[in-house]
Structure formats: structure tokens, C-alpha cells
Symmetry: C2
Subunit: 511 residues, 2 copies
Amino acid sequence: MSMLPPRSSPRARHYFWRELTELMRRIRSLRSALALLSWDQETFMPVKAAERRAEHLAVLEELLHRELTSPRARRLADRAQVLLPSLPEREQRLVRLFLREYRRARALPARLVSELARTQALAVESWRAARRENAFHLFAPHLERLVALKREQAEHYGYAEHPYDALLDLYEPGMRLSQVRPLLEELVQQLQPVLTRVLESPPPQPLPPAPCTAQFVLGRELCIAIGFDPQRGRIDTSTHPFCTALSPEDVRITTRCSEDDPQVCIFSLLHELGHALYDQNIPAELAHTFAGEGASMGIHESQALFWEDIIGRSLAFCRWSFPLWRRYLDGMLGTPWGRLSVEELFRALNAVRPSLIRTEADEVTYHFHIVLRLELEEGLLTGRLSVADLPEAWSAGMERLLGIRPPDDRSGCLQDIHWSLGDFGYFPSYSLGKLYAAMFWRKIQHDLPDIEEHIERGHFRTLLDWLRHNLYSVGALETPAEILQRVTGKALTSEDFLAYITAKLRLVYGA
Amino acid sequence: MSMLPPRSSPRARHYFWRELTELMRRIRSLRSALALLSWDQETFMPVKAAERRAEHLAVLEELLHRELTSPRARRLADRAQVLLPSLPEREQRLVRLFLREYRRARALPARLVSELARTQALAVESWRAARRENAFHLFAPHLERLVALKREQAEHYGYAEHPYDALLDLYEPGMRLSQVRPLLEELVQQLQPVLTRVLESPPPQPLPPAPCTAQFVLGRELCIAIGFDPQRGRIDTSTHPFCTALSPEDVRITTRCSEDDPQVCIFSLLHELGHALYDQNIPAELAHTFAGEGASMGIHESQALFWEDIIGRSLAFCRWSFPLWRRYLDGMLGTPWGRLSVEELFRALNAVRPSLIRTEADEVTYHFHIVLRLELEEGLLTGRLSVADLPEAWSAGMERLLGIRPPDDRSGCLQDIHWSLGDFGYFPSYSLGKLYAAMFWRKIQHDLPDIEEHIERGHFRTLLDWLRHNLYSVGALETPAEILQRVTGKALTSEDFLAYITAKLRLVYGA
């Protein structure tokens, strides 16, 4: 008498894992190819290759989508449902990540997937031209098309409360507009009096200019001293700084340079460094699975903002890095870097002042920029705001929130690359990242009471070990809420951020 | 009464073309992604990413193979057979290219395809290390594995006369070992007395050294002056110079530099430029089809060698480019570029002398290098030569053919990247390319009697127009033999090459 093995037998599990592993391997490889095609588009691609590149990206996205919607993937998903209860905790989490991807892919028709890819690739090029020539109308038709496609995408995914949630969930699993919007609006209200008080104090002196090459070399040295592994990554320049990971062994970051403001180059790099350290330290045994990446965009941003703001703009870090700033920049362009003091560097890096460009905004006004984008995205998506009205809505919002109007769209609604990439629902991740980072920082200060002395001596190992142990090691096996709970023992709150920022501003602006 | 359209109706043809176009689009996109992954591996990839990159390449090769072996491709191939006689000439040629690809893909089991890709990617890395450390044993096991896989591949393809033919046909459709081997061995015999005579004359003075950066800038300027479009391509450096085309809008070439010998950088660039001009000028309407590439490797090499040797090393080209050589190189490293004459440059560029490295060999001894590789490849493939015996067989062959022995494997059997990439059967393309180029050149001189004056004045338009009209425009729609017949009115011969080289050597070495 022969018998088929029961569906949750060890043999059934063995076949299931082999097939799932193969599927993840194919998907990871396609994603790496897509990452390289995109990285290349932003860095080294010949200018006239843009249209054809859009085609290549669309076809690869289509193939990726086909992998997740094939009969084979469906059989795997069916078996996953059956096997799930019999699997150990860790495997269950991996399988749930697969099921999430599978359901998302099944939700979208192949036509929409390839249209999104093609529209986005062309939108990026039009955004680039529009920004260069300060001509919103070059970007507008592409943005309109993208908004329509994103709305369609949200409907296909489905949502309980608001179409925005369907997109937000792509970046921050489990987050809803009804949670994040009041949280950030309240935070901005609490920051308003802080901002008013700060603006009554005399502003810190800005940093002197420095040549771009020297800035780049300094930034690169800082990244490597902190822990970026140049044998498993690259540092280049692009219009909009970004980080992309083909694998933990190939993590690429970029920055941009402005002679007049060395902060742009150095702190863009420290920001992307935070992403890169996370990506380079994903455990090898997760790298080829769906858990081989950050837990969410918000958690990823927390790492970027942790290194950019909490560490990079700390007095301890200034004390350690000051000799390097002087070594690379003093005397260049005949500027007085040599006469600067550590305290002046620290104050300059932490100047608070309403400004037009999000990526150059300080830690206080940054949230104002995000709240504006959140409102506009919500308006575009529900149709209450038309693309044609976007430039004016942007300007009016800046005036209402920060009291300043952009003189042109280049410093207004054309400043960010995100919408051209179809990344609607992404912006809240930045503010969430700041809140997460402050929560982690409070816990680090508790766990490692002498951490600031380590930083002051340029010893980043202790900090990296803490992050590796508490965060990097789990990849995407835990949700953001689970990570917060396990690491800090608390649910999401803006309290730690408020405590952190007011303490720092006391140092910068005095009592 | 309803009726299915007959299988060669306009409607059937319409559906057939739509499906075939989609298939070609997917395959072209996957090939472009593979080209970028490989280009990046040779230029900018972080060193520790090699193993994972091999994995990504293998998966994409597998997906490509799957496209060509899917039930959909099979249906297309079946329909192609039926529709073929009813199609116009041009469509027939396109369909035959598809059927060739289809049959090749069906011939190989998926396991072999992905094993080849993985083995090759690792072999490249081991070759790099072996060459760096002059340690053949690092490369040997990978080469052994590759040879076994290539033998298997040849068996799967099938052949009428010799397993080598099955691989040769990949690069030079229709060519056989029984044709190319006697042709090249006879050529080498005819060149032997030419070489002996030349070696009795006093050798030209070598070129002075120059800094790598200046060489690179000079080479780049020459390429762009001739017609390389930098908005549709890139020029970089890598260990082994190469050209890769993601599309006609994205053609990338590389070179390598040696301070002691500026010829290496400049003439590697002119070589790759020849490939690039061909690739950049493939007509847009062919670009997304299987005809959107060169007619064969031999024809492609003919373009590389045409620009490198026939044009680049001509007296007319020297007269035009001489001021640029001086402008970029004079005074650098305190060397006497300024005291050089055009004739000295011309003589230095055409010095004939047995040497160890194929890519730096002159136009006469180059064929000796190829004959050696052809013999060794044939031996490896049939098993008459073992990988372990390769270094000694190489040295003995060099001694027999050119009277010199390499002092180490780095300048012996480890010098070429080709075998590590699995490119067995490729080398004859170089010699065939030289023969094709000389045949084209004789026809050009006939069609454009004042062409050398054009070159002397730096007007390359006439030449490019001739090439566009006679060669570039047909892509791979014609076979090499058809192209030769149409353009020169003759079948393959080494006569034009012999006439060309003896005439030039008279100029260089006197009567």
C-alpha cells in the first residue's frame, strides 16, 4: 500500500521550502538587476538612453510581477496557507512576507504594473528637465498620469479607511493616515512655539564655503571611519542623493555637492550612510529571502536620520570630526575654516530656520515640510487637489506652516524626486524615522551610558554592535511596531523626539 | 457560418508579429540588463559583490532561456514555419533569426544554461586573481569545468564535421573549422617571409611614455572627433578593454592605460570605437529585434580592426591626429613628444615585432597569435590537450610560431579574458575581421578615391556614411558571406589583406 505524504509532512515542507527558496532567489535577482538599472540611470547612463531604459525597466518589472503571479506562485501560496501553523515562528514570518508580496502582486493587473514602470521612468526624466528649467508644465502631464495610476493601484490593493492607507502600507506596514496625520500635525503644533522662541535668538553663523571635491573626500572619509565598507559598496554623486542595495555585498550611496554650503554634501552622505549601514549588515542567511531588507521605510529612515542628525549633528561627533573638517577644508577657496571653533561648527550644523528645501531643512522645521507633503498627497490622491493647482497649493502651504513662499517651483513643488518615482505615501516615513530614531537613541543612552565618549573618540564599534544586535539582525522579520516594542518597550510616540530636540536646542541657543 | 482565418491569413500574420515583437522586446530587455550587470562587474562593482553577481547573472540567463523555451515560444516557432513562405524577404530574415535563437535555446537543458552562467562568472574572477598573481592553478579548475561544459554545449547543438564548428557558428554563422583553419594557417605561412624580411630592417623607435590621464583624454577626444556619440555612450577603464551595447542609445567602451606605452590606451580605444560606431548606428527600427546587432563577431571585429589598424594606423590618420598627440602629451613626464615627427609616429605605430601579448601585437604577427589559440582551443575541446598541459603547450606554440617564449603565464595563457567568459570559438573572429576589413577597405578606396585626403583633414563623415549605407544599415539581416558578396562582389579571401599589409610595410620599412 502506497500513501501520499500528508500535506504538512516533513517531506511536503521540504519541497515547499525548496520551491519558495528558488522563487525568492529569482525575485531577488530581478530586483537587483532593477536596482542596478536605476542606480545607473541616476549616475552614469548616457543622456539619450532614458527612453529605452524606461522600456527595459518596464519589461523587468513585468517579469518580476509574472514570477509572483505564476501558477507556481499560486500553488506555493496555497501550500503556505496549509503549512503555516506547522512551521516554527521564524519560518512563519518569512512565509507571511511571501504571502504579502504574493497578494500585492495578484492585486495588480500586469498592464498596470508595466504602465506604472514606464510612466515613472519617463516622469523622472521630465522631472529632471522641469527642475532644471524651472518649468512645472514639463512635469505636470506625467504627474497627472502617475496620480491616476497610483489611485488605481490603491483601489486594487484595497483599504479599510482611506485610499492613502493602501499606499502608506507599502512603506510602513500597518500604518494608517488616521494615526500618522494627527500624530504629525500635533507634533508640528508642539514645535511651533519652540520654533518661535528659537527665531528670537541670534542665528548661528553659517559655515564657510568649500570646494566640492574636498567636501566629497571628507564625506567619504567620515563614512568609512564610521563603518561603511567600500569593498561592499560605492559612493558617487547624483542629482538627488540616494542609497540602493543590490545585496549586502553591494550597497551604493550618492550625494550632491554645493560649494556654498558644505552641509549639503556631508550630511546627505551621513544620511545615506545610515541606510547603507543597515543594508550592509543584513545577515547573510536572510539576504536571499524576502526578510533580507529593512523592516520598513520608516525604520530605514530612522537609521538615515540617526546618523545624519542624532549622531552627525551631535557635539560629541563634532568634537571627533572637527580635525577632519579642518584638514580637508582649511585654506581652500581662501576661507577661514582654520579659525572656526568646534562650538561654532556644532551651532552652524544645528541652526534652525524656516527654509524652502526639505533635504536641507533643520530637525525642527523638517516635520513641517512633511506635513505639507502629506496634505498635498492626500489631496492629489482623493482628487480634491488637481495637479494644475499643485504649485500654488505648495506655496500657500509653505506660507501657512513656515511663513515663507518659494520664489519658484524649483524650490517649491519640483524639489523632490519622490513623486516622479511614483513614491506616494513615502514622505511620512521621514518623520516617522525621526520619531523612531529618537526612541532608539533614548534606549541606547540608557544601555550604553558612556556612548558619547565613544563617539567623541571616534569609536563607533559599540554603537554599531548595538544596532546590529537590536535592529540589523532581524531584517524584515519583525514589523516596525514589534521592533519598537521589543527594543524600547514602548509604542510609537513623539515624546522622545521632543525631549531630544528641546535638550539639543538648549545647547545650541542657550536656555 | 463562422470560419477560423486560414493560418497564413493577414490576421494570422498580424497576431504572429505582435507576439513575436513582444517576445523580442522581453529578450532584448533581459539582454540589456545582463549587459549592464556585466559592464558594471568590469568597471564599478565593489570587489566583494562578485559571488552574488554571479548568482544574479545566472538567474537572468535562466529567465532568458525560459523565454525562448516556453510553450509560447514553441507555438511561435510552429507558426513561423507555416508563415515563412508567405512573408516578404525582410520578414523572412527576421523570422529565421528568431528560429535560430529558438533552436539554440531548445538545444540546451536549463541546467546547463545556468551552470554555464555561474561557472563563467566565477571563472572571470578566478582568471583575474590568477593573472594578478601569475598563478595558473587558481584558474585551472574553473577552466577545466568550463571546457567540459562547452564540450557538452557543442554536443547539444550538434555539428556536421567537428565539435568546434558548433561553437564557431555562435560567433560566425556558417563558418567551419575546415574552412578557417587552412585559411589562417596558409596566411601565417605567407606572412612568415614578410616577417623575416621586416626583422632584418632597423626597428622604428618606440613612442615616448605619457601619463595615463593625458592618454585617456586624448583617446576620448579622438573617438568623439571620429563620430562616437557621448550622449549615447560612455568611455571608461577596465582590466580588459571591451565594448557593450545595451541599445543603440547606450553603447559603452573601455580601455586600459600603460604609462610606458601610450599605444595600448589609444589603440584599444580606437578598436572598441569601431565596435561602438557599428552599435550606435544600428537602425532604430531594427534595435528591438533579433537583427538589431552586428551580423557576426567577425563582421563586428572587422569594424574594430578597421578603425584601429586600417584607419588609426594609416599615414593619413597620423597626419590629422598628430597635433592632438602633441597637444595632450608634449612636455608631460618631461618627454620629447614635441620633437617627434609625423613619420616617426607613423613608423612607431606600425612597428612589426614578435611579441607576447595579442592585444598589443602588430598587424602581421596578430594572426600568429590567433592560429595558436585556434589550435589550443581545438585541442582542449577534443580532449587531446589537457588544461594542466595548457601553459606548456602555449609556450611551445609561441616558440614554434614566433620564436619567443613567455617568461610567465601572465604573459602567456592567462593574458586573455575570453576563455574565462566561456568564449571558445571566438578568437578566429579577430583574424576573419582583419580579412573582412581589408576587403571593405579595398572597396572603399575604389568607391571613394579621395578618402585618404578626407581622413587627413579629419573629415570622417564620408567614411561613416559609406559604412552606414553598406554595413550598419542591415544589422544582422544578412549573413557575413552575403554582406561580403553584396559589398565587395567577392567571397572571403586573404588576398586583400596581404596586398594591404605588404603595401603598408613598404611605407614603414622602405622597399
